[in-house]
């Protein structure tokens, strides 16, 4: 094509230097003046497979070897499916099974791909050519005819004239997706007020603090200094909606040296002899805050590193959380078990629109 005349006089070896000299020094980001001539395409260079019949033969061998390898991969995958069956309860067998079948299938597909690309690059005819693009715009007549068709359609359908029909159609199209949007309401709680649900948890006066996951009630005497207990409310495991309830009611119970606690006025009776209970739900986006350091009394949220200081009523000392963790007021019942005095005094977890 156009390049044949360019590539003709140049030998393959002098290609790169010819290009370099014709381009001259690099212009960098400068605007190129009109005195710089378009150097055109670099001259065509023949591949070694075109010049050397031995290399050509070698490339041919490589391509069919890759295709044979692909066949071998497919057979290997089938064979390993039979040779390494998945045994019940044996993760090692499962691992071998998936590994070898995967290797076989990967080899099968990869062999085809590599072989095809290598074939195309090294052996198929190597000619350079330019296909010019068609102009994007149509001719003046085509454009005029298109406008005519639109005008005719508007006239004949009365789309521009019969505005009532047109507007009612637009209205119908707008109304059509609404049922789909309304269905999303079904994802939320049905006959209950979501604000109420977010504001209250299962905890109520007298409900015992029990161990997660067994539900064993916890005595105040069991909680030694430095301990952390993961707590769920009594009766949670019997609830149908136990996961929804647990997501709000999970509590972390810790015992500190009572002298270490700084208790604000009004909360003196919320703890028992250094035993404090705080909501486990982070006030940032609701991850379980449970990384308790018993020496520093820091509670760390694993999701975004919000850090709460248990000594100072779980105030935020680091991270994106804005509010301290809500405290669960606790007391000890007549049998020595820890019980809640009431629900949390504020909604637990992250902010929501209607939160007071």
């Amino acid at each position: 094509m156009a390049h044949d005349e360019v590539s003709g006089p140049h030998s393959a070896a002098s290609d790169s230097s010819a290009v370099e000299t014709s381009r001259g020094a690099s212009t960098g980001t400068a605007v190129i003046g009109s005195d710089v001539v378009n150097p055109g395409e670099p001259p065509h260079r023949k591949r070694v497979t075109d010049l050397d019949p031995k290399k050509n033969k070698h490339a041919e061998r490589t391509v069919y070897t890759l295709f044979y390898l692909s066949i071998a991969g497919s057979i290997f995958a089938v064979a390993s499916y039979m040779a390494f069956p998945i045994e019940d309860g044996d993760p090692a067998a499962l691992r071998l099974n998936t590994l070898f079948i995967g290797v076989g299938i990967a080899l099968a597909l990869f062999g085809i791909g590599l072989g095809a690309v290598h074939w195309g690059k090294a052996l198929m005819a190597d000619k350079e050519g330019i296909d010019l693009r068609h102009p994007v715009a149509g001719s003046a007549e085509t454009q005029a005819r298109a406008i005519e068709i639109f005008d005719e359609a508007d006239r004949e359908s009365g789309f521009g004239r019969r505005t009532l029909i047109r507007n009612s159609l637009i209205g119908a199209i707008i109304a059509f997706p609404l049922p789909g949007l309304v269905l999303f309401r079904g994802l939320g709680p049905q006959d209950q007020d979501p604000v109420e649900l977010l504001s209250h948890t299962m905890w109520k006066k007298g409900s015992r603090l029990t161990l997660d996951p067994s539900g064993t009630p916890v005595k105040a005497a069991d909680v030694t200094i430095g301990s952390v207990f993961h707590i769920i409310p009594e009766g949670l495991n019997e609830r149908e909606d136990r996961l929804e309830q647990k997501a709000k009611a999970a509590v972390l119970l810790m015992r500190l040296n009572p002298a270490d606690l700084n208790i604000s006025p009004g909360r003196e009776s919320w703890s028992y002899d250094g035993i404090v209970a705080y909501s486990k739900i982070c006030t940032h986006v609701g991850c379980p805050v449970a990384l308790y350091e018993q020496q520093t009394h820091h509670l760390l949220c694993p999701c975004h590193q919000s850090t709460f200081d248990v000594v100072n009523e779980c105030e935020v000392i680091f991270g994106p959380a804005k509010r301290p963790l809500p405290q669960l007021p606790i007391e000890v019942d007549s049998e020595g078990y820890l019980v809640a005095q009431s629900d949390f005094h504020e909604p637990v977890g992250p902010s929501f629109w209607e939160r007071p």
Binding site: P91, A92, T98, V117, D126, D222, T224, V228, H230, Q305
Partner: protein
Amino acid sequence: MARKSRKANRRHPLATVVLIAIGLVVTGGGYALFSSTTTASADTNTAASQSVIDEGEKLFAANCASCHGLDMQGTADGPSLIGVGAAAVNFQVGTGRMPMAMQGPQAMQKPVQFTDEQTAALAAYVASISPGPAIPDESLLQADGDAANGGELFRVNCAMCHNVAGAGGALTEGKFAPELTGVLATHIYEAMLTGPQNMPVFNDDNLSPEDKRDIITYLKYIENNPSPGGNELGSLGPVAEGLFVWIFGLGAVIGLMVWITAKSN
């Protein structure tokens, strides 16, 4: 004559009985002898325990007292050891965390500084001053409990710091929860029981000895069984796995693209 010799060669009808009797006597006698030796050695143990405690006291005064105080009362540099028990000593000294090389965010694990006998002597000495959690019984450390129960307890109580596969994780201000693979069952048990450094205490009312055994069973199970999904990439979770795919997966894709579009030479 021939008949007589044949008779002499034949075993006496009671020979088997006699043989069994001799065998029983030898075994029983040997066993009795052996068990009396063990009781004897146990006696020497209790008798020697005072000397072990004295040995521990000397080691304590030489290696621990500068920070923990000569009477274990604690100083500005180290906490009091009153009531920590033999379990805490065995954990801290047995994992090389104590004696500490330097003050820092947390005592680092390093090569163990004392022999098993010296560690035992220190533990005996500390336990002799004030009672505390003892070194757990061998029967709880066999990793033969209920791994499923242990897994659930681990996820509720431990996974938030130590990672769900026990790979460890970061805490605040340079502290971290260590990896749990390759840790002796005794040390895992003692850590739960005593709450070393910033780890909270999980006493027997929180996690019963059987619960602790199940947790050890779970940890040993995931340590000894390969992950069915292939290489764990350190079990560090989705971020590490994502990073691996971004670097190596996309790198391979880019490399292939370069190869496909490059001119054949």
